[in-house]
């Protein structure tokens, strides 16, 4: 039980909150450490979990990056010898899997976890233990998938794992089994996370914060969680069918038994297209926070950004077959999906217009975060345009399965999603760690990444249109052609570009280390920000806010700092962040009731890989894992989410008590 009897007020550094041990519940005493490794292992604090998600995602980003560089080294010269054909297949499969499921998604979850409660003025998420459970699931799933490298080879069917190519005949190693079952575990994390964040956003907003007063990052995160809620079960079905086929002899994708090879493709892409919005919308949300702050203007057309985000969330369900234009769907389906795909570019374009008009006439400050945000706008637009060229089905028939597609999705994913996340790092670092990342190094970091990214992925447009297929492990001199568009030259440029890009990312890591060593603390409100997460100390106290704010405006924090002159319509400052914080501390809520740490999330999450290992190697182990799972669930169910009332003093009459909304 973490009960904070007195809000901690010293100089913005959160002190350890006093914690009372409670009597045994569900068989164990609750964990109570507030420092050391135990405080991380058993934590249910959304901020700690956010950081844990971030560290994990960064690790997998580096892993996926190493895989990418190996691919590019293999393709740098004709008849590449760096990787064998079989390892090459594993490499591109695991590169994509890692980047999509183990980097971008968890990194977006890191920001969502950390900042959504802060942006809506809440003290935690609705279900803190489920939050911790989700983190341990994604970590367990990620490790599980990668175990296959050491156990006979990783998955090698490409990240969309088309059937029947993913069947046991074509891929006899256990790689795809690990992939399928590991993604199931990761899927649990996405599903619980989605439920948790939707409930949090719907139910735990600070008084006065109507939906249309919510920050855009929170809004787009909400849209993403709905996409996850409905997309994850579809891939879950597909993954079940595949593992039943591979592990229990079912016939779902056995063409000789009459199976339809398009079943997998439909299921995968019904999930897969919403998934690309799951990847990009968090970054759209981040730059929709960053641009107004550094343009010193409210976001242009807030309702348009929100509604186009929701529109993308709806239309995104009706375009999946554009990934299947070459599969013989028939002219009617192709025409319908071609047109719906063109249509989805509209709400996307709306956002680009809004961001541009936010910058228009603003007092621009070119910080590192702003660099990355503008980088996103430009690079994503290039990727969006090549996307529109794929939506024209006859043209796509030429492009599909070539490097042109690889160019497209890297512009939207690297130039879009990843640049947005980096913008978020530079913008929110001072909030999360109380120190600002070095701005100068940040800009160098940015330029290396932009140049590297354009050198790597730009030439791929040419390579693709010249006919270089994707997923081919070698190209030959004889086929490279001549003149300006010869494959040899552009492949070499792309490979050199990947090293420039890697160096840019290395600079970011150096920046992190440098910043963590520096003693200099960030100012309370380094960017003159607009939203609630900046209205508390940095890093925030365990209970986030001393007083739950009452919200009157969109951009509430800005309106507490500035007031509009009724005559001149100029904004003039009426308070500083320090004053606002001091005022909150002076009127702090007396009894703040925070969720208690728990063993059960990690125990429950750890029992899932045991089941999965059992499915692959030996059913008794799976049954053992199942028993552990059930026991852990009972342990969880019998443990109250917060310690019993008797553990803390009831408020003396007249004192106010602020609790979280119901916590589980």
């Amino acid at each position: 039980m973490a009960i904070i009897e007195q809000p901690v007020t010293t100089g913005g550094i959160a002190l350890a909150a006093p914690v009372t041990p409670t009597k045994a519940q569900g068989g164990f005493r609750r964990p109570v450490s507030t420092t050391g490794w135990k405080s991380w292992l058993f934590t249910v604090d959304h901020k700690k979990l956010g950081i844990m998600y971030g560290v994990m995602a960064m690790f997998f980003f580096l892993l996926g990056g190493i895989e990418a560089v190996m691919i590019r080294m293999q393709l740098a010269a004709p008849n590449g010898k760096v990787l064998s054909a079989s390892v090459y297949n594993q490499m591109f499969t695991m590169h994509a899997t890692t980047m999509v499921f183990l980097f971008v998604m968890p990194m977006a979850a890191a920001f969502a976890n950390y900042f959504v409660p802060l942006q809506i003025g809440a003290r935690d998420v609705a279900f803190p233990r489920m939050n911790a459970f989700g983190f341990w699931c994604i970590l367990g799933g990620g490790i599980f998938i990668n175990l296959s490298w050491f156990l006979g080879g990783a998955a090698d069917g490409g990240w969309f794992m088309y059937a029947p190519n993913s069947g046991p005949i074509f891929s006899p190693s256990h790689g795809i089994d690990f992939w399928t079952l590991g993604l199931q575990i990761a899927g649990i994390a996405s599903l619980t996370g989605a439920i948790n964040l939707i409930v949090t956003v719907l139910n735990m907003r600070a008084p006065g914060m109507s939906l249309m007063k919510m920050p855009v990052f929170t809004w787009l995160t909400l849209v993403v969680q709905f996409l996850l809620l409905f997309a994850v079960p579809v891939i879950t079905v597909a993954l079940f069918l595949l593992s039943f086929q591979r592990n229990f002899g079912a016939t779902f994708f056995d063409v000789s038994a009459g199976a339809d090879p398009l079943l997998w493709q439909h299921l995968f892409w019904i999930f897969g297209h919403p998934e690309v919005y799951i990847l990009i919308l968090p970054s759209f949300g981040i730059i929709s926070e960053v641009l107004p702050v550094f343009a010193k203007k409210p976001l242009f057309g807030y309702p348009f950004v929100v509604f186009s985000g929701a529109a993308i969330g709806f239309v995104g369900w009706g375009v999946w077959a554009h990934h299947m234009f070459a599969s013989g769907l028939g002219p009617v389906s192709v025409a319908v999906f071609s047109i719906s795909t063109m249509a989805i570019a509209i709400p996307t374009g709306v956002k680009i217009v809004n961001w541009t008009l936010t910058l228009w006439g603003g007092k621009l400050r070119f910080t590192a975060a702003m660099h990355f945000a503008i980088g996103l706008i430009v690079l994503f637009t290039i990727g969006g345009l090549s996307g529109v060229t794929h939506s024209v089905a006859p043209s796509d028939t030429q492009q599909t399965d070539t490097y042109y597609i690889v160019a497209h999705f890297h512009y939207v994913l690297f130039g879009g999603a990843v640049f947005g996340l980096f913008s978020g790092f530079y913008y929110w670092w001072p909030k999360m760690f109380g120190k600002t990342l070095n701005e100068k190094l940040g800009k160098v970091n940015f330029w290396f990444m932009v140049i590297g990214m354009n050198m790597t992925f730009g030439p791929m447009h040419i390579l693709g249109l010249q006919g270089q297929p994707r997923r081919m492990y070698q190209w030959t001199e004889a086929r490279a052609g001549e003149g300006f568009f010869n494959l040899a030259f552009w492949n070499r440029i792309a490979s050199i570009g990947s090293l420039v890009l890697s160096f840019g990312i290395l600079l970011f890591l150096i920046n992190v280390v440098k910043t963590s060593r520096s003693k200099e603390r960030a100012p309370l409100d380094p960017w003159d920000a607009r939203t609630l997460e900046w209205m508390t100390s940095s890093p925030p106290k365990e209970h986030n806010f001393d007083v739950i704010p009452t919200v009157h405006h969109l951009d509430e924090f800005f309106h507490r700092k500035y007031e509009q002159d009724p005559v001149t319509h100029e904004y003039k400052q009426i308070a500083t962040a320090e004053e606002i914080l001091a005022d909150q501390e002076a009127h702090a809520d007396k009894h703040i009731h925070m969720p208690s740490p728990s063993y059960w999330p990690i125990v429950l999450a750890a029992s899932l890989p045991v089941i999965m290992i059992g499915v692959i190697y030996s059913i008794p182990v799976a049954i053992l894992g199942g028993i552990f799972t059930v026991l852990a669930m009972f342990g969880w169910a019998l443990e109250p989410s917060t310690a019993p009332e008797s553990d803390f003093d009831p408020p003396a009459s007249g004192e106010s008590t602020k609790e979280l909304a119901p916590l589980v």
Binding site: L202, A257, A259, A637, L638, A661, V664
Partner: protein
């Protein structure tokens, strides 16, 4: 989900104010069921695509025993009725009534699952295994997933009976009963759809 719900009532937080006025647990349960719709949607689509694809082994019409399954479906439907009675007893803070009706619901559910086990065995003896044909694989996967959902429901019901018996405050699990009730009705509705599409409409 029940584990999520159980403690909610433990510290009697019904009075909490949320932005929507709905309890967190209830919103979460609705969201979870929304997600489940797509899970079953995917499984049902797979079955509908594959039900006529039999290269070896029996065809759908040959293995279904419609009168038998109709009876077990009726039993499952009745369990929804008893679940309603359990919820209403819980809201009246009548713990004895609640545990009684929860137990009856669980027993009816168990009867249904027992019927399913019997049915599966009979089909297997007629030559329809999980790996026999596309029809076999997709039929057992779909109905098996449903059966697992009913079984999980039974476990939740029985655990809830145990927990209510142990607690001293009468009626304090009313919301949990309601949430498990939602889940139970959902599983029943899914069965009605499966029964109609799989058994009643000929392939």
């Amino acid at each position: 989900m029940s584990d999520v719900a159980v403690h909610e009532a433990d510290h009697g937080t019904h009075g909490h104010i949320t932005s929507t006025g709905l309890s967190n647990n209830k919103v979460a349960m609705w969201l979870f069921l929304g997600s489940e719709c797509l899970l079953f949607g995917g499984l049902i689509s797979t079955y509908m695509l594959y039900r006529g694809r039999v290269s070896i082994g029996p065809r759908p019409g040959h293995v279904f025993d419609i009168p038998f399954t109709s009876v077990s479906s009726f039993v499952l439907l009745m369990s929804s009725l008893t679940m309603v009675l359990a919820v209403s007893a819980a809201q009246k803070r009548d713990d004895r009534g609640t545990t009684l009706w929860l137990t009856v619901t669980a027993l009816l559910g168990a009867t249904f699952v027992g019927g399913q086990v019997y049915e599966f065995t009979a089909m297997y003896n007629e030559g329809l295994g999980f790996t026999t044909s596309l029809f076999g694989s997709s039929f057992f996967t779909l109905t098996g997933f449903h059966g697992v959902h009913v079984t999980v429901g039974i476990i939740m019901l029985m655990s809830l009976v145990g927990i209510i018996k142990r607690s001293d405050i009468p009626g304090d699990k009313a919301e949990v009963v309601e949430l498990i009730g939602l889940y139970w009705h959902f599983v029943d509705v899914i069965w009605i759809i499966i029964f109609t599409l799989v058994y009643l409409i000929p392939a």
